[in-house]
């Protein structure tokens, strides 16, 4: 029982989106296929993943180091104790050979993407949806059928004014979503407050509206926005500081009473430990938003969650970055707070199974084996081309 090939391609995301920090016009992602010699339904089981959105493709790291390490390993050294399935934690350790401590992001995205693809294969071999496999291993088998899901939207775009923002929000509410996140920081404060108020006219109060500053504020502007936004009691204020500016974040936790959210631009367990400790985040209200595929994958995420629990954090405080089926499986499997969705953006690299239903802000899980990319046709067509 072994991995027979690991293939990857870099695909442009082809998005014209812009937030307050940068645009996505050059953005790419790596799509990965882990091909095995295990036969199910007459065909080899193949695990798939992609490196989420916002970090560029990482195929070179895979080709130059990670895939050769896996392919050189003795096949039995990558199996679980029973010998009947792959052991993702052993793939992680194998890929991390000869990697210098620290400097995480150069490899964490590539390692995590391959690791998540291995989990897709593991769940397919068990003939279970990945969320069920994760729940059994990490969450006492608690089985979710639905997951809370909010819209990451409200991007800036040329010619997009208040009316177009409201059209976007109305469309999302009509689709069944109830909670909306919109960008701030890419316009003047006055303009952003107008956008917030326009959004509040449509959603069911501040608890259903979040805002995302995408890490662009300096100290002065962070304070100004925090003070101006506090009265709206929004669901959360996301990335009001540089991702690593824990001192400024700690100031804001003293100044801004409603929830803060951050973490999508930190990629290691130790960075998250520093974030909650030195950023003085509040376990009773703040949110953590790591991107699992970009941060060494699911095994390392389980270790981060253990570290967080020891610091007084509940899994319900975690809302992982990335509106895709990988995140959905992790949210359901670990019993996290909720999942992000990007309806209509990032092409095939956003969204869930094509037959997904959203009702009252909840998305119904697919029961397809694995992550379930086979139910997301446009993306699966790309993935399948890697293994045929």
């Amino acid at each position: 029982m072994k991995v027979t090939a690991i293939r990857e391609i870099s695909v442009p995301i082809g998005s014209s989106l812009r937030n307050s920090a940068f645009d996505f016009s050059e953005m790419t992602t790596s799509v990965v296929a882990v091909v095995t010699d295990v036969i199910r339904d007459g065909r080899p089981v193949v695990g798939y993943a992609f490196n989420s959105t916002g970090r560029y493709a990482c195929g070179a790291q895979m080709r130059d180091r990670l895939v050769p390490r896996i392919m050189k390993a003795a096949p039995e050294s990558l199996l679980d104790a029973s010998g009947s399935n792959f052991a993702p934690e052993k793939f992680l350790a194998c890929m991390m050979q000869r990697e210098k401590p620290g400097g995480h992001t150069e490899r964490s995205v590539a390692v995590g993407t391959i690791e998540v693809a291995v989990w897709d294969a593991v769940a397919k071999i068990e003939d279970q949806p990945l969320h069920a496999v994760l729940s059994e291993r990490f969450n006492h088998g608690a089985l979710a059928r639905q997951v809370s899901c909010y819209v990451g939207g409200g991007w800036y775009a040329p010619g997009k004014g208040i009316a177009q923002l409201q059209d976007e929000i109305r469309a999302r509410l009509a689709e069944g979503y109830t909670t909306m996140k919109i960008k701030v920081g890419g316009a003047s404060l006055a303009e952003d407050l107008e956008r917030v108020e326009a959004a509040l006219h449509l959603v069911d109060g501040g608890a259903h509206l979040a805002v995302d500053a995408n890490a662009t504020f300096d100290r002065q502007r962070a304070h100004t926005y925090a003070d101006a936004l506090a009265p709206y009691a929004l669901r959360w204020l996301e990335e009001p500081t540089d991702p690593l500016d824990f001192s400024l974040l700690a100031e804001l936790t003293q100044r801004y009473a409603p929830p803060l959210a951050t973490g999508e631009n930190l990629f290691s367990t130790q960075d998250i430990a520093n974030l909650v400790r030195f950023g003085r985040l509040r376990p009773d209200r703040d949110l953590l938003q790591m991107d699992v595929a970009q941060s060494y994958g699911i095994v390392q995420f389980s270790r981060t969650l253990e570290m967080l629990k020891a610091q007084g954090w509940q899994p319900s405080a975690v809302y992982p970055h990335g509106g895709n089926l990988m995140t959905l499986a992790v949210v359901a499997g670990f019993g996290l707070g909720g999942c992000e969705a990007y309806p209509g953006v990032f092409g095939p690299f956003a969204g869930f199974h094509d037959d997904a239903r959203i009702e009252n802000g909840m998305i119904t899980l697919s029961e397809r084996p694995g992550i379930g990319f086979e139910g997301q046709n446009e993306l699966y067509a790309l993935m399948r081309s890697l293994s045929s």
Copy 2:
């Protein structure tokens, strides 16, 4: 006046070295040539650099994003105010377009390597050694002729015992070095203390011996080693913790009175700000060891130094990682504490100008224009192949 091409190759370092954390058997580096249309001595000026040691080659990031951004920029947008030379800070800003905040290492190595190569070209166009150019811009023109230089050595190797370690140290002292750094943490504490004592027999007291744990200790072992090493009053104890474990580092600053050193595995100004603040490092004794080429280059290093000065740190506390000519120029130009040297290891990717003299622990600077790779024959042969 413009850059006409930027070329890179990935080269295996081909080293059998091992420290307590990992071995270098797969290690590679990217060698870069920034070719310009400026003519000096009848030939186009070419700036060279490589991505130091310990982080893998990063050519994909250069080819896919950084080089195209530079080549697409209007040539005049990359020049200084006089229009007669290139402006490295504009290359940095150009390369950072459409890069998401945080997640530094994925690009900081590639960005920094290209930026250092631009500086090599800038100094060649000024017909000055890079250290003189840097000194004029960043250090009030203070001109060094010599720089303090210590040996980063004492690696673990199969069959290498106390006698071989002492042979190594004797050879270095014979070459003119006076301060030696040896590895710890890759053996038992008893064995490592035996190595430390064997080294102390040869050098001129604890002030001339440093030890490097390469970030492998857990909390218990960090405490144990700190307590055992403190009585030797060594020059410094390097990387006794995970590079990002600022809490444990803060504990050690309370427990271990002699100097601590770290920073080579942090790659952004914000990470270094967090290190000195939350790690509670002591400006009166501790050392900071960023790798300039791996951390966005020289302009960003100057910003890190400004941040550090505002926190009470002197340039003399900085001993940058990387025993090579790039580091030497930066140490001399900014008036830093000292430079690392790796005699006999890392092949052409260590060492200085072939005619370098070491006397009483000081290395005499070359007066070749630029970084001076032209005086390091084996490395320059590699570099020249990129521009011919």
